[in-house]
Amino acid sequence: MKDKLDVLLVGVGGQGVVTLARLLSEAALKCGFNVMLAETRGLSQRGGSVKVFLRIGKVYAPIFDVADVIIGLELTETLRNMYYAGENTVVIVNNRLIPVNMKKTESKKLIIEKIMEKSKNLEIIDAEGVAINVGSIRSENIAMLGYISTHHIFRSISTCIDAVFYSSKYAKIRENIEAYKIGRKLR
């Protein structure tokens, strides 16, 4: 890792974006890094767009403008936040589309194309598929966590991600453990 890592996590309220971000921030702290995690709560969580700023390393301000990594739990929300992408931003996105209530939904293909216009480093992960296979859609954030724990950009905290996940309350749920293990093999 350089002296800092700025991670933007996005998704839809209820998908577990904040949980994923908290587990990552606890892992970074455990590995000895400085951490800041900026959330928005209250009205913003009722099924609306969710956006969380995670900063690891030598940082001061709570939020940033250009992310080193964008982790998207949903495609539309990832596209919506692509203005946080710089030239070298890595984008890791769950291949899931949640339609906006009562609005026209674009196809996955078109949304992915549009994301790719802004990023050369796109990785599409089927965390939704993993979660459905293990029997609980709520585990898709944990499937993503599994994948992230093996990713080179998070290598300086990867062992701590493991430790934090397995000692968390989320590892008391069978579906989560399975989703995490499968997530780790997706690479």
């Binding site: 995690l37 709560r41 009722r46 939020i63 403008d65 539309t76």
Partner: protein
């Protein structure tokens, strides 16, 4: 172990609000109160979890004014006390706030105002540091989560030293940011005190208040002078041509912007934790040799306003910039700040990032009422009843999850002004509108907070209106805090409270027509609303409907069966996914409905809503 009780020296990740709570514990508080409001709620929420262990009195009060008054009384009895609220909450408590400065305090009294720049969860983004100037109460702002804890502890000493209330101003990006904090020492709380009678000080009748005001003006001078000596404020690099005064969280943004520009050594950087009043003598000394000053602060130009005054008074030849260069609304942004500082320092930087525009238009994803939310069938019934009654209606709305009814398809909020304004404004609508009927929509917690006086006004001054109290048995939007109708403890010292039910209040103030409905029974609800609208034709007083059904997130249901679509019966009318708009029902490309089993919680209301019986359990 609860994070707030971890031992001294522990390095832990705390939310800004948790840090404030811990800071208060490290000062030995004995009393804390609040009404929930984003972004302030976790301060009292977290303290409540550990209060009984430490023998503190911590409570959710019925509104911010009561919370303030209760906490203030504890403080004048010698018990260190904290009151927390969101920025607009301080408006509700502004009456006691103003006079508390006249009377002062005995033990430390810290008022936490959590402001919401950019309005993530608020109706405005007022900057409550103005209250400090308005009320003669010092305002302090932390720059980081660690400082949020440390400053809170320090402010209790400060408050006690001057026997004066202080305001700790936080913002969303501090209250709701987690950061690494090294904990300090917890001290034994003192939660019992004594009241020493002294009417000249504690009774603000005009005769006493005139003397108190004179004393206050003198005390304010002493405070201003003392603040200049405080080590909370600091500076680096003296006598540079450009000085940056960065207050509160503005300091964190400024340091990062300067590091990005590799220009930290090129400016006199002034870190300000005391934004009202400014440390006058100290700051004059810091900026007097500079040519330019840039003020970085989140919110309005409160520091800028004061520094301009000081510079004019002293006749200094220093150019001051602030909100002329930086945005006057929203929150601070690193990118804009980097550009601004570069401009002030004449540093050349790369042009702004290209290609930010998105070619594909993405619809906004508003927060929505949850699947199974009792407000959805209520709004559905309300809209149908209004349509069937062929009346024109003005919906006087209020603040809570149910404000989401403003969006399509319901659009049942024509106005939202402040807490309790649904019934308050209905008192005006009812008297000036000729044709339209007035429907006031208010949540249960909001009703206790500010709806009751407005309802008494309506019955006594004869304002005809239909008031619908949406009783979901919790304060849902801010995280399920109890209210007096729930029967659950709201304080650490009363564990078996007696319910104060809305129907008892409503009947008690003299409302003659009170109906209680379960919004899950859509057609019964519709019938009662229809009947009430009809009665309003010949009535001069309010009718109240209490729509009672617990919040689905707070008290989830576990149905035996979930609904299914009988595809052969579905004629693609769209009532379930458009008019009823349950997010768990999606439109297939054929127009037919499909239930998303992962989202459906099995409330089965759609079964009643479908006119073709195409949804079955």
């Amino acid at each position: 172990m609860n994070k707030l009780l971890l031992p001294e020296g522990t390095r832990v990740l705390l939310l800004g609000n948790e840090a404030i709570a811990r800071g208060a514990l490290e000062a030995g508080i004995g009393f804390a109160a609040a009404y929930p409001g984003t972004p302030s709620s976790e301060i009292i929420g977290e303290l409540l979890k550990i209060a009984s262990k430490l023998n503190l009195h911590v409570e959710w009060s019925v509104n911010e004014k009561v919370a303030f008054e209760a906490a203030y009384a504890a403080a004048i009895c010698g018990v260190r006390s904290l009151v927390a609220m969101k920025h607009v909450g301080l408006n509700v408590a502004s009456d006691p706030l103003m006079t508390s400065a006249y009377m002062g305090t005995k033990a430390g009294f810290v008022i936490v105002s959590a402001d919401d720049p950019n309005m993530y969860s608020s109706q405005n983004e007022q900057d409550n540091r103005w209250y400090g100037l308005h009320a003669y109460i010092p305002v302090f702002e932390p720059c980081s989560v660690q400082e949020a804890k440390d400053l809170t502890t320090t402010l209790f000493d400060f408050s006690e030293k001057f026997e004066h209330p202080v305001i700790l101003r936080s913002v969303t990006r501090l209250s709701h940011t987690s950061g690494v904090v090294v904990l300090g020492k917890l001290i034994e709380p003192k939660s019992k005190g004594t009241f020493i009678k002294n009417p000249k000080r504690w009774v603000a009748i005009p005769e006493n208040a005139r003397i108190l005001k004179k004393d206050l003006v003198k005390k304010w001078e002493r405070i201003s002078h003392y603040i200049s000596k405080l080590e909370l404020n600091s500076s680096e690099n003296e006598n540079k041509e450009v000085a940056i005064i960065a207050s509160g969280i503005g300091y964190s943004y400024t340091v990062e912007a300067l590091e990005n520009l590799k220009a930290r050594s090129k400016v006199t950087l002034i870190k300000l934790s005391s934004s009202v009043p400014l440390p006058k003598e100290w700051i004059i000394d810091k900026v007097k040799d500079s040519k330019k000053v840039l003020v970085v602060e989140e919110g309005d130009g409160v520091v800028e306003f004061q520094i301009k005054n000081i510079i004019a008074e002293e006749g200094l030849k220093v150019e001051v910039h602030g909100k002329d260069f930086l945005p006057k609304h929203g929150e601070l942004r690193l990118e804009i700040l980097v550009r601004t500082i570069a401009k002030v320092l004449n540093i050349k930087i790369a042009a702004s990032r290209p290609n930010l525009k998105q070619s594909l238009k993405i619809p906004e994803r508003h927060p929505t009422l949850c699947p199974g939310c009792p407000y959805r069938p209520l709004y559905y019934a309300l809209k149908l009843a209004v349509k069937k009654s062929k009346v024109k209606v003005v919906y006087s709305g209020d603040i809570g999850c149910y404000t989401l009814g403003v969006y399509s398809p319901f659009q049942v909020h024509d106005t939202v002004l402040d807490m309790g304004s649904s019934i308050g404004m209905a008192n005006g609508f009812a008297h000036v509108l000729k044709e339209e009927k007035v429907v006031a929509i208010i949540g249960d917690s909001t009703f206790y907070h500010a709806g009751i006086p407005a309802l008494i006004n309506a019955i006594y001054n004869q304002a005809p209106m239909l008031v619908i109290i949406l009783d979901n048995e919790t304060t849902a939007m801010t995280g399920f805090q109890p209210h007096p109708g729930t029967g659950e403890p709201m304080s650490s010292t009363c564990l078996k409270p007696k319910k104060v039910l809305p129907e008892d209040i409503v009947k008690g103030v003299g409302i003659n027509h009170v109906y209680i409905v379960d919004p899950y029974n859509v057609y019964e609800t519709l019938h009662v609303i229809e009947k009430s609208l009809k009665m309003l034709n010949h009535m001069k007083e309010p009718i109240v409907i209490i729509a009672r059904r617990p919040c689905i997130l707070y008290k989830p249901i576990s149905p035996e069966k979930k609904p299914k679509i009988v595809e052969s019966k579905c004629n693609s009318c769209g009532i379930c996914y458009n008019s009823f708009s349950c997010p768990a029902i999606v439109r297939l490309p054929t127009g037919k409905a499909k239930i998303n089993e992962n989202m459906c919680i099995g409330c089965n209301i759609c079964v009643d809503v479908c006119p073709l019986n195409a949804i079955i359990v």
